[in-house]
Assembly symmetry: C2
């Protein structure tokens, strides 16, 4: 019997080693970051460390930090700030025991507004003038919609939510500006009010929708040709609902053509120790 148990355990370990995402399904946020830090896991973070706040990442030289922080303050729906490092310090002390140089599964490195490289560790790129910004992401309110029985197509089909460049201008700050990028989720007409009410409870995850109903009125000419993410299935009788998207600040950073900036690679988020339901993003 004992040998059977050992053999089953060996089978499980073996299977998990072949599928690190599955191995990490039950991991805490700290265990997940440890696996990322060690290089054992470099994949997407959706569905991992369930219940914990995940965040978009932007790393900029301090010369741009005050303007970027003002940009976020003026555009809180696309850019909900959840953590900011001290200058030159790669730790995010209010979000957990986080070393930002190693604790995100994958990073995009941009030079003069163009993608230069995707890497899994930025220790070699770290600069004494860097400031790290963590921004809330849509996972938080999507989980709340899911719990409320509002189906999300991209969850069910393991697709990426469609994203569009709207004609809703952001409020400028220094070199940062541009249009607001939005995501679309089709919601049954009788559930729209509930979706608004629920998502409004999460100001650190884009809050209530920016627009409900008419894509053209916010500058979206073809709902089925998103600029990023996957094309959605026909909306049919559902109502297209548009939320502010974390690609907005990334877009503002690229538009500004900074000499050097670093973001997370899409889907490869910073996983924090902050509870998704927490009132404030501070551990």
């Amino acid at each position: 019997m004992l040998s059977l148990i050992f053999r089953y355990k060996a089978f499980l370990v073996n299977r998990a080693e072949n599928n690190p995402y599955e191995q990490l399904q039950q991991a805490s946020s700290a265990e997940l970051r440890q696996a990322i830090r060690s290089g054992a896991y470099q994949g997407q973070t959706a569905g991992l460390a369930s219940g914990m706040l995940q965040a978009n990442l932007a790393i900029l030289p301090e010369a741009y930090a005050l303007d970027f922080m003002r940009f976020c303050q003026r555009n809180p729906k696309p850019c909900p700030l959840v953590g900011v490092s001290d200058t030159g310090v790669p730790l995010m002390s209010t979000l957990g025991e986080i070393d930002i140089r190693t604790d995100v599964p994958a990073y995009n490195v941009y030079r003069n507004g163009a993608l230069d490289a995707s890497v899994n560790d930025i220790s070699d790129l770290w600069q004494d003038d860097f400031v790290v910004f963590a921004l809330g992401c849509s996972f938080t309110f999507e989980h709340a919609l899911h719990r409320a029985g509002i189906p999300l197509w991209h969850f069910q089909e393991k697709k990426t939510v469609p994203m569009y460049r709207s004609n809703i201008a952001t409020r400028d700050s220094g070199v940062f500006g541009g249009e607001t990028v939005v995501t679309m989720r089709a919601v049954a007409a009788e559930k729209v009010d509930e979706a608004i009410r629920i998502s409004r409870q999460y100001p650190l995850a884009h809050g209530a929708p920016l627009h409900v109903g008419e894509p053209h009125s916010i500058g979206i000419s073809d709902l089925y040709a998103p600029e990023w993410g996957d094309a959605p299935p026909p909306v049919d009788d559902n109502i297209p609902v548009f939320w502010a998207c974390g690609v907005t600040p990334q877009n503002a950073i690229l538009r500004a053509k900074l000499p050097l900036s670093i973001t997370h690679k899409p889907g490869h988020m910073l996983v924090t120790d902050v509870d998704e339901q927490a009132e404030v993003p501070v551990v």
Copy 2:
């Protein structure tokens, strides 16, 4: 009859001129700021421009602005940022047509951490390196508690809410740190949950309480000897409920002994064009 009406109107105008607070009771936020800007009104703003967001004010040289903004981000309950100016620009474009040099009824000017002067106009003090910070204040959630039928002693008695230095540490940023200052409102036991639920809906006005019940456990030795504001009447069967207070960032600024900083004079707030119920503080 007509002459009677004229005489009554003249009486009203005369009374209002003698009592500008009463004259401004029905004024919009823009009209109120115009009266302040012109010097016609230099009094407290509680109860004026009903329904509009009022804000605490802090003006600092840019050299301290990024650290102060990080301090606010890390301590969102005492320091809910609702607006930040561009450097050297005295306008608060996201909060209304506001010239911060003239549009607050009274200012306190601090040099090296000590009060230097109280003035009604800071045009002569304005510097090209100033950054203006507006922070949400408790009026917003107090109005919501009042609407819900939760009585507030200091409203009824026209007193100032009692404020205490707690032992709850803030999260430091650069030269900014210190204890969290809290306000106390005594709430009937059966209304405490509702008071928590309501105030949590206002993250830009200090949000949910920091502590409910036991003053000693947060370092308050005598509930009837507040450090600022008026001593409350006996709590009796009510529960003392403690919220984070906007004196916290003021205290952090004074502690830092900046060469020069300017705040509003207590009770003399910045009145914005943002609706108190707005999801985000942007007009």
